[in-house]
């Protein structure tokens, strides 16, 4: 087998209870041919990093609306690195001010998708940027 589906973990860190966007994305990416692991609401950074490791995810997609992104997302990327998952593509979506995007990029969040990003755009970005692995 020379081709396999890309595995994407979708998680919602933080305490806000709005997961409709994350669910729509999870379903949309499934329809685009990705294998999507959906882990649900109120995930701690430790939960997300553990799930990414056990699932051997190629991509971690973080949906966050609570405003705590500057605290939570860098902690998640640091934990992923600590577990040796530095080849995982980390992207984020939600309400994130432009000024914060540069900070998150610096922390290892490769892309931030704001409201209005289509599933197709997200899928295309992932396909173009996921790191080839064995």
């Amino acid at each position: 087998m020379t081709e396999r589906p890309i595995k994407v973990l979708i998680a919602k860190p933080g305490l806000d209870g709005h997961d409709r966007g994350a669910k729509v994305l999870a379903r949309g990416l499934r329809d685009e041919g990705f294998e999507v692991v959906y882990t649900g609401l109120r995930q701690t950074p430790e939960m997300i990093a553990t799930a990414a490791l056990q699932e051997d995810a190629d991509v971690v997609g973080l949906s966050i609306l609570s405003g705590a992104h500057l605290t939570l997302l860098p902690r998640i990327t640091a934990l992923l690195r600590a577990k040796g998952l530095d080849d995982v593509l980390v992207v984020a979506g939600g309400i994130i001010p432009d000024d914060d995007v540069a900070v998150l990029r610096e922390a290892g969040v490769v892309a931030v998708f704001g409201p209005g990003t289509t599933i197709g755009e997200t899928a295309a970005f992932i396909r173009a940027n996921v790191r080839p692995r064995d």
């Binding site: 020379t2 799930a51 056990q54």
Partner: protein, 331 residues
């Protein structure tokens, strides 16, 4: 499947060495290597073969428990409660949770982890989601191999959670030592128990959502109908009855040799070997040497110039005369 390819491995030029390396690291407790190895198994990549050759002799100690039931019967929640109970008893557990692939795109939405997130940071628990990848029967083709890997890695229990099943997805019974079928109260069980299907493969039945009205009644009906099957009432959300379920599983594990459980392992072994043999025969017949002849034979059958039985006989002969390492395995 629009452009979702990941190029095959670049990190090690020799997949066989890579598989051995991953297996050895996984055995040494490296969870990342274990996860990578499971990916190799799922993708049926060449690295998986060398890894499984190394791991098969080390497996066989875990209790492989299949958990199946209709969608919404509470499988994931019960698996989570069971894992918590296993941990309380000082033992370790791995979970393989299978969800269906979406036939149109080949993608999948794997949602079983939602109810199993309490174990982050606990090295005694390992949870892996798996897409069925077009395989019917409630599992993926590689689920048994994934269970072997987790068994060899030393987990005491390996729980195999099937896709939400109807009446014919009974494959888990062959993949597991013990099959737990979940029933929800008052779901028309009397008639279902009579029909051939899920209940037929149950070693243990858990009437889940035991806090709902009718749970005890459903359990009594099932007990009356299915003699010899242990029927328990569980409430996965509260943990009620889960200790008793684990105790029932342990009793069954202890009794496996006496009740012919070794026979089911023998059947599983046979199924695995026959499947591999089939793969190898196909590989050999489509390989460089007889490949053209194989194609010609298949074309002849398509053109109704040759019947399929004669075609199979002819290919069988080609198989025997092909290659120098005796592919049909005669001594």
């Amino acid at each position: 499947m629009a452009g979702r390819a990941i190029a095959p491995g670049s990190s090690s030029p020799d997949p066989s060495a890579r598989g051995t390396e991953l297996a050895e690291s996984a055995l040494a407790g490296d969870r990342r290597a274990l996860a990578r190895l499971l990916t190799a198994v799922e993708n049926r990549s060449p690295a998986a073969e060398s890894a499984l050759r190394l791991l098969h002799p080390l497996a066989g100690r875990a209790h492989l428990v299949g958990i199946t039931g209709a969608p919404g019967s509470g499988k994931s929640t019960l698996v989570a409660a069971l894992v918590a109970e296993v941990r309380r008893a000082g033992r370790t557990a791995a979970v393989v949770a299978v969800d269906p692939s979406w036939p149109i795109s080949g993608g999948a939405l794997l949602g079983d982890r939602v109810r199993m997130q309490a174990f982050a940071g606990d090295d005694g628990v390992f949870i892996r989601s798996m897409a069925s990848r077009g395989h019917a029967g409630g599992l993926a083709t590689t689920t048994t191999a994934a269970a072997t890997v987790l068994d060899a890695a030393g987990f005491d229990l390996v729980l195999i959670e099937t896709v939400g099943t109807g009446q014919s997805e009974v494959e888990v019974a062959a993949a597991a030592d013990t099959t737990v079928v979940l029933e929800a109260p008052e779901m028309g069980d009397e008639i279902q128990a009579i029909k051939a299907g899920l209940l037929e493969v149950a070693d243990v039945i858990a009437v889940n959502k035991g806090d709902r009205p009718g749970a005890q009644r459903t359990a009594s009906q099932l007990r009356a109908m299915l003699a010899g099957v242990e029927v328990l009432v569980t409430t996965a959300t509260t943990g009620e009855g889960v200790r008793e379920l684990l105790a029932a599983l342990d009793r069954r594990r202890a009794a496996l040799p006496a009740i012919g459980g070794d026979g089911s392992r023998r059947a599983r072994a046979a199924a695995l070997v026959w499947a591999l043999l089939g793969d190898r025969v196909r590989e050999r017949l489509t390989g460089p040497e007889p490949g053209a002849e194989t194609a010609a034979v298949l074309d002849a059958v398509a053109a109704h110039a040759l019947d399929p039985y004669a075609a199979a006989d002819r290919l069988m002969k080609a198989l025997v005369t092909t290659g120098d390492d005796n592919p049909v395995g005669r001594p």
